[in-house]
Amino acid sequence: MQWKFPVLVALSILGVGLLLTGLVENRYVYFAAYVILQYVVLATAWNILGGYTGYVNFGTPAFFALGAYTATFLMLAFHAPFLVLLLAGGLVSGLLGLGIGYLTLRLKGVFFSIATLALTVVLQTLIINWEFVGGAKGTSILRPASMLFFSNYVKFLFMVMLCLAVGAVLVAWWLEHSWIGSGLAAIRDNEEAAECMAVPTLRLKILATTISGCLMGLAGAPFPLHITLIEPTSAFNLDYAVNSLAMPMIGGTTTWLGPLVGAVLLGVAQQAATVTISSELNLLIVGVVLVAFIMLAPEGIVGLVRRLVKGERI
């Protein structure tokens, strides 16, 4: 496996990000970039399960919010340091992913998807009734003025999310290029046939749900510090489910590049639309683009480009 080149690219992206924090002062840039990078993580995480194995997860908000609330709880209860929050968020959501992995034993196709949706609502109800983390009203988080060598906290959060995004894409790239990726693709194409060919389907599915859940939890853990007021409606927002599924679908679900392309394009478009038009309208655009792609270009932008390139060669 050629791992040197991707790692070099990843490191140079991180370097450019770091350089940026020294040059640009406008806080909104970091805020917007954080949101887009967060979608890169969520879309990539969703795709590890949805795109590679074909199990459609509507429960992104559940994993994301679980990460966010784990961090909130640790902050309120123990004033835990940032790294602990991050790791705990990833761990708890990863455990939920593990549980969901066992669910795939009994639930296939549509039933699995509906179960993940149900899980989201059940978790949200639990959080609404948990007074310690603020219940339905939510709770405000005080963030430190600065962190490490960054001149303000927003820059620090941006850098954290950039690391997570780069890390998530690397994980997806690695999965795809190892034997695990072939196994997952076999599950997507025909689970029973894969099982017959001695592909360890259950273990692979559990691995995919755990990694996917863990990444979503990692993306959620800094969320309370980013938004500074955490409450169930925003943490369990259905927009996360739609976006994290629409972005890979639009970009292309079979490669690591698809969710990245989809998240950057759709994320930038949404940020631009939120500023210039309205946030309601930008959600409408996401929905329409999603439906258009699923009907007309099921292989996504990456697939379209590939077909174009191949067509030119012939």
Binding site: V56, F111, A115, A118, T125, N129, L245, G287, I294, M295
Partner: protein
């Protein structure tokens, strides 16, 4: 805080609510249960029905349930169009399962955002003479805003049951879910039958939406709550069984009402979704599965 009176009232309210839940879930029992179309957009069609009734009620002071009934042909047409698009784009190519699901998820999202763009996110309500009145039978109070939707829900269930069991089209629709090749050999076009059935499923959403806005004020995002409820009922009811749907709806209504009375309303939603998870994990074929 526990008393016989409270318990009886909670059970009565739950039964009444259950009749309404049956109306909400029938569409899913038909489209998802019988036809295997992953129609998770159904709840938002119900919300659209509620807003149609609201628009008629505020503009012409029309009775909301009558308005819901008047809109059924329009919703039938809408259902026919949606099914045709779904059929051509997904079912015909044999890739309906997951991409079809995402299609309906996208549809749900588009309709919900469109409704909130038109009507805003404020709660809307309707006016009718029976809203706010109640009758008491012994120690049990029955509010008409629950009783009338309950009766309409029962009638709708009965009508759909008779249609599926007694008429040629109804039998053909049941046939398509079991063996569409056999149906074709009998000289009936399965796609035509599925189109009719899907249209009917969406048509029930118009009436269910009118019942919804009679029971409680409505805002666009409220449809999400009904995804879990309606699917829980359709799955518990045995996927496509109309009688089973009614029984499951009554059970869920009573369970929610009891939870809401004795543990607080914020828990009642968890009951339906919890039941759904339990049903999916333990017995996916439902209480009355085939």
């Amino acid at each position: 805080m526990f008393s016989m009176e409270l318990l009886l009232n909670a059970i009565t309210a739950g039964m009444l609510l259950g009749g309404f839940y049956a109306a909400v879930s029938l569409g899913i029992s038909v489209t998802f249960g019988l036809l295997d179309v992953p129609n998770i957009a159904h709840p938002v069609f119900i919300i659209a029905g509620a807003y149609a009734a609201y628009a008629m009620n505020t503009a012409f002071a029309l009775d909301p349930i009558l308005a819901g009934l008047l809109f059924t042909p329009l919703f039938y047409g809408l259902g026919v169009v949606v099914y045709r698009i779904y059929y051509v784009s997904f079912e015909k190519k044999g890739e309906q399962a997951l991409r079809g699901l995402v299609f309906f998820f996208g549809l749900l999202f588009i309709l919900e955002v469109a409704l909130s763009l038109i009507y805003g996110v404020d709660y809307r309500l309707v006016e009718a003479s029976y809203i706010g009145n109640s009758v008491s039978v012994g120690i049990v109070g029955i509010s008409l805003r629950l009783f009338i939707p309950f009766m309409v829900g029962l009638l709708l269930t009965l009508a759909l049951y008779l249609f599926l069991a007694k008429t040629f089209y109804g039998k053909a629709i049941q046939g398509v879910s079991q063996d569409s090749l056999a149906l074709r050999l009998m000289g009936a076009d399965p796609i035509h039958m599925k189109t009719i059935a899907f249209g009917l499923g969406i048509a029930t959403a118009s009436l269910a939406g009118a019942l919804l806005i009679v029971i409680a004020p409505v805002e666009p995002a409220i449809g999400r709550e009904y995804i879990g409820r309606a699917f829980a009922i359709a799955v518990l009811g045995g996927m496509g069984s109309i009688g089973g749907t009614l029984v499951a709806a009554l059970i869920l209504g009573v369970a929610e009402s009891l939870t809401s009375t004795f543990s607080g309303p914020s828990w009642s939603l968890a009951v339906s979704f919890g039941l759904l998870l339990l049903a999916l994990a333990v017995r996916p074929s439902g209480l009355f599965g085939r």
